[in-house]
Symmetry: C2
Subunit: 388 residues, 2 copies
DNA sequence: GCCAGTGTTTAGATCGATCCAATGTGATGG
DNA sequence: CCATCACATTGGATCGATCTAAACACTGGC
């Protein structure tokens, strides 16, 4: 009797551990209800997750058979299949892929970690990744870092816990490859996109160097000699590569690069617009600029207009990325197209390939880019072009 | 002996069922290897998923204790906790949240289905959703429909199988609420965003009607009398609402709405630019336009320029959404700001709230919007404003 | 009637975690 | 010495699916 008393008290004494963030309350209730229902053999109309067991019971076959039907196995008899499929539709059964993946040691998701989706370059890239994954029945686990290494670690840890087939990562500036490896575990494939990251991983990047070289050569061919490199963070790998391409083009054309014409800004419109003055502190000023990316180029256009200049007629500029608004600015922006959506598709394909066979050798790919000539890149004004 | 022979043969006779799309090949191999390793008691250095069991064995406690440590339970002794945590770090154990969720009937993800991320409005919205979810340790399952009802069904089905806490859905045009309900199952909460969908779900939408009314009233206050409504699909709910707001403003100002000034286009820049002619087929032509959204407004600007007109000085226009490039176009676009990122955060919070307590009553919310006045909305040119 | 072979179905173990009830251990108090 | 209690730990069942090996039902051949 005393024993009984304890028994009935103990569950209530339960401290309602706070470790379980919040979800636990509901869950406890849920299980409780479920058990009651099972014991009273109620019909399953109320809120209740349906399982493969319910389907099996409902049409008098075993779980295993239902499982085979679900996976379209040729082993099951056509009549049985029809019966099971009818029952599935009738009760509105929803497959639980997490449970299936647990048993079969497969996975059906890929993580995608980018800086921020509001950057149209990454939004396009993400759209490409998601498209390609959806086509083969995978889902995309999204994560954004906001360019914070700390958040990136948290996001990667969270994604890794969902056991994706791999992670496509465009690392935040200042990322540490070893730290990334630690937080995702040793055996999760990673594809690094767009920025360098120390480690033995697949690496897809735009051909920044040649892109910037093309842009610079285009301006040189138009007759420019005083060409600036405008914007971007000095220590970002993509900016370094683009600046190097710019420098190579100048060198090949026997033009001396003026260090004061390499102007660093945050890679945003606003910052780029603010720094325009730096181009004109001393004569002779540049007549053209290769910009770190389109955002910077658009900002520079704004800044130029604000100073009473006319981009596209008395100052030439070239962007990088070909974001959608590049074609729509005034003047339309000459730029380097990178086709981020197609890159997203390729990244997705690659990570799935590696998930299938982790032994394939890592691939460091640099994707060709294309010069898109619009109206922002004009020849230099004669007066300036010839005079000192 | 014969028995043995069969035994060793049967596994090879296995028909390698094709039903399992592709992943199965690897998995079979994987398990095989795993068993070998276990039986030979090798140290666990090679590619091998580590489980809570490995941690427990490694530091001489039970699975249950390790589990408690992982969840930060106050029940475990500090020394034990330290020992377990050290072991976890040492072997590089990664928590398997799917397994945990299966047992505890919780979930840790939310689905997000949008038309296309390359639309900056949705990209911002998605960024907001992801931000808010990441803060509480959830991950975002991404899906995009490309405005195809069919793909939407496939994407929803795929997401539902991952048992998310709920799905935030911006339905493709022409979606059928009943079909959506069928494919996600009866008990998965859905939050409908931005477009109407038949069904008993939470529904978050911009205050399209008042936004368009504000825009129209602004143009009227500037002195315009001949105002067009430009762009958008006639049958999309958001377009209907915006057109209604436009009509109300005209009515209140005692202006008769000219049906021929309601021009339908696909909601893209390109289509909007192509249709500009429709505004000027007959005199008197409108002097201003309320546009379905910013994309359409930017397209209209382009089209006007191509026809030798000057948006912002001889033609006024107002957009809708306040996408980033609105501020940067020439002239900068007067528009209606909708703060999609903040809406994303709110949607995420709401879906989590409903997941915690499915009994809360559904909420149909219309979010206030804000008129942002820039330079595209000019007064009417005197000549046109007073004549005919 | 027995055996082999094919086609179909199934019971029971299992994936990696959590939950529950129970157990072991001291400390305390009568 | 026993009962009580708090603290710490644990074995075994369990979540919803898959996997394996075995069972079952036929058919046909000898």
């Amino acid at each position: 009797m005393l024993r009984q008393l304890r028994k009935s008290i103990t569950p209530k004494r339960d401290k309602r551990l706070k470790p379980f963030p919040a979800k636990c309350e509901k869950k406890a209730l849920f299980i409780h209800k479920r058990q009651r229902e099972d014991s009273t053999c109620m019909s399953k109309t109320p809120r209740q997750k349906l399982t493969l067991n319910d389907v099996a019971r409902g049409c008098g076959v075993s779980r295993a058979t239902v499982s085979l039907v679900l996976r379209g196995s040729p082993l099951v008899h056509a009549d049985t299949r029809a019966k099971v499929e009818a029952e599935i539709r009738r009760i509105g059964y929803i497959y639980n892929r997490a449970a299936a993946n647990l048993r079969s040691q497969t996975c059906s998701s890929v993580g995608l970690v980018v800086n921020d989706l509001s950057n149209p370059f990454f939004a396009e890239f993400a759209a490409g990744v998601d498209e390609a994954l959806a086509e083969v029945g995978y889902v995309t686990l999204l994560g954004s870092t906001g360019e914070s290494v700390q958040r990136q670690q948290a996001v990667l840890a969270s994604l890794a816990e969902h056991a994706p087939a791999g992670i496509i990562l465009s690392p935040a500036e200042g990322s540490d490859g070893a730290a990334v490896a630690r937080v995702v575990g040793a055996h999760l494939p990673i594809l690094v996109f767009n920025r360098e990251l120390e480690g033995d991983w697949d690496y897809f990047v735009m051909d920044n160097l040649n892109g910037a070289r093309l842009a610079t050569e285009h301006l040189i061919a138009l007759g420019h000699r005083r060409i600036a490199f405008y914007g971007g963070h000095r220590d970002s790998s993509s900016c370094r590569e683009r600046r190097e391409g710019y420098r190579q083009a100048l060198t090949r054309a026997d033009i001396k690069a003026e260090p004061r014409w390499c102007i660093e800004t945050a890679p945003t419109r606003l910052e780029a617009a603010r720094q325009v003055g730096a181009l004109f502190v001393r004569d002779p000023a540049p007549t053209a600029a290769v910009c770190y990316n389109d955002a910077v180029a658009l900002g520079l256009q704004l800044g130029l207009v604000a100073r009473g200049r006319h981009p596209g007629s008395d100052f030439a500029l070239v962007g990088f990325d070909d974001i959608p608004e590049a074609a729509l600015s005034t003047p339309p922006l000459t730029t380097i197209a990178t086709a981020p959506r197609a890159r997203g598709r390729q990244a997705a394909e690659r990570i799935l390939q590696r998930a299938r066979d982790p032994s394939i050798t890592v691939e460091k790919r640099s994707f060709p880019v294309q010069l898109i000539i619009r109206e922002s890149s004009c020849p230099p004004p004669e007066a300036n072009g010839k005079a000192p």
